[in-house]
Symmetry: C2
Subunit: 334 residues, 2 copies
């Protein structure tokens, strides 16, 4: 039996009109009522009759989400949150995978348009600003993440420089002197931002930047972290701490340290980035930069919906969502 | 620049007609040529001009994929493979999350139909056979996984009873006598199948079935595995081996064993199920039942496409795809 607006209103204890205002993305709803309606929408799995509504408004009812790979936990988790946020507002989501290559990202961008979707959330890794020219037929687009290109669209991201600085300052605060980094990759937008945070934290702690302690990573998968860690531990003067540019690299690094019979954090302290769910359960549990992924997904969906409904026509915004450093056993010990 | 059929043909070293046959899902293409075309399609990211093609054929160009949660790595990995397989054939994929509840699964099923998608891949956890009656407006549907309900649609799964039996036989073969199970949950279709495999392997090894060694799990997340393992280790006669019904439960179990200062596999050997990528990197690396997820995704997309194009009108099939037991440190030691 299809759930109706009336069912949602009854469960939330508000009027049908209030539910309708939330579902249609109108701004003037009391925060408390909005929260109750959103909870009731999630509990009932209510879906607006988008077919009829879209026909009326000349919309497709679809949003697109472009990500590198769904089997990377960060993107699997983020995609799940984007789907949940979109569904609450009555949109269905098409997901496109690009493997993070510029060619695939361009092809995806070129395939988007008002015939297909009403708006798009894109997480590029290799696109250049010129790739955005004339594509997507003017549908609203929001960029996820701090890919460092200058295009006039909305963006939602955490402050990568500050986040990296926070992680490395934590390691320095533990008294570590040879702090390595794993994940340098000039082709990835966030890599240079995290490098900047790393260097700035070293400088603030009075530590010098040592080129050999910066390990590149072609991809940000576990195997690449494992290989990079082995190379660092083979140095004449190996590091006593490592900042990894994502949790997968850090999980691979943990594994290599264990294989060599060394201890985390006694011999090497390790910090990751992303706070994947697996990181709370690794042995030892991983300290990591934890972006507020729910805020990221909700903010991005909110922005794209306001553009679609015409509720805002303000110049493109760059919204920073919160992060926190999650300190666990890989730096603090047990 | 959009990639054309000609570009793909040149890269694959075949005729444009051959590429067209593969893209349109026709059967009569030499396997070697099909393979070369598929590789070239993947490398170039070619997308058929589905707009024009679908208009001609009265199709939407979309498939739906219904899964419980994308942030469960098994579904993140599977969804990624389904998207890749669908894209090769020119379909875009809408993903719907249900959290595995019957209500949400029913709502999703009811929202599907020819106005929205040309076909659907569904992975239900709680649906009953009656929920399928009269839904989805007759679009082709393929069920993923061995959810034990009797509905007349195509299915693709691994043999769960046999897979569970293989895992438990491996533990018995190591000389373990008190083999526990984590994950019993009568509301989940595959749970009873894995229980059957567990019991049959115990019987074959001359071990008796001990009720207290079977730990339930409300959800199959890491935290539930960790809690179940703690309960088992608190028994007067704790287990010397555990078969977990998925890798997340097993990762949680590994963590609890480490927290209690015990060793895997010396004190407790552990086997998981799914072969999530993280399982090769846990400390110790996890032995697990490895379904061939690529075969599962490819077979399911192939089946649904043949139904959509009318290439087959055969009675519904139940296709079993392969699995293997991946033996790693959590049973073999280092």
């Amino acid at each position: 039996m299809a759930v109706t607006l009336k069912d949602v209103a009854a469960l939330a204890g508000v009027s049908v009109k209030t539910v309708s205002n939330v579902v249609n993305g109108y701004a003037f709803v009391k925060p408390e009522n909005r929260r109750r309606v959103e909870e009731a929408l999630a509990a009932t799995g209510y879906r607006p009759n988008v077919g009829a509504r879209n026909l009326r408004r000349g919309r497709t009812g679809f949003l697109a989400l472009m990500v590198p790979e769904l089997n990377i936990p960060y993107f699997g988790e983020l995609a799940g949150l984007v789907l949940t946020a979109a569904q609450k507002r009555g949109w269905s989501v098409l997901i496109e995978q690009t493997q993070g290559t510029r060619d695939r990202e361009r092809t995806t961008l070129a395939s988007l348009g008002p015939h297909l979707v009403d708006g798009a959330l894109v997480h590029p890794e290799a696109l250049e600003a010129s790739d955005f020219r004339g594509v997507a037929g003017g549908i609203p687009m929001v960029m996820l993440g701090e890919h460092a290109i200058d295009v006039p669209i909305d963006r939602v991201a955490i402050d990568n420089v500050k986040a990296a600085r926070t992680a490395v300052t934590h390691l320095a605060g533990l008294g570590r002197r040879r702090i390595a980094a794993i994940g340098r990759n000039p082709a990835r937008g966030t890599s240079e931002l995290r490098m900047a945070g790393y260097r700035s934290a070293l400088a603030a702690a009075g530590l010098s930047y040592v080129e050999e302690l910066v390990a590149p990573a072609e991809k940000y998968h576990r195997a690449h972290g494992a290989a990079a860690m082995k190379a660092l531990l083979a140095l004449p003067a190996p590091p006593d701490a490592v900042f990894c540019f994502n949790d997968l690299l850090a999980i691979g690094a943990l594994r290599s340290v264990a294989e060599l019979g060394l201890r985390v954090p006694e011999d090497v302290a390790i910090v990751g980035f992303d706070n994947n769910e697996e990181s709370a359960f690794s042995v030892p549990a991983l300290s990591t930069v934890a972006p507020d992924k729910t805020a990221l997904a909700e903010t991005a969906i909110d922005l794209v919906c306001r553009r679609i409904t015409g509720e805002t026509a303000a110049p493109p915004q760059h919204v920073l969502t919160p992060f926190a450093l999650e300190v666990r056993e890989s730096t603090r010990g047990r």
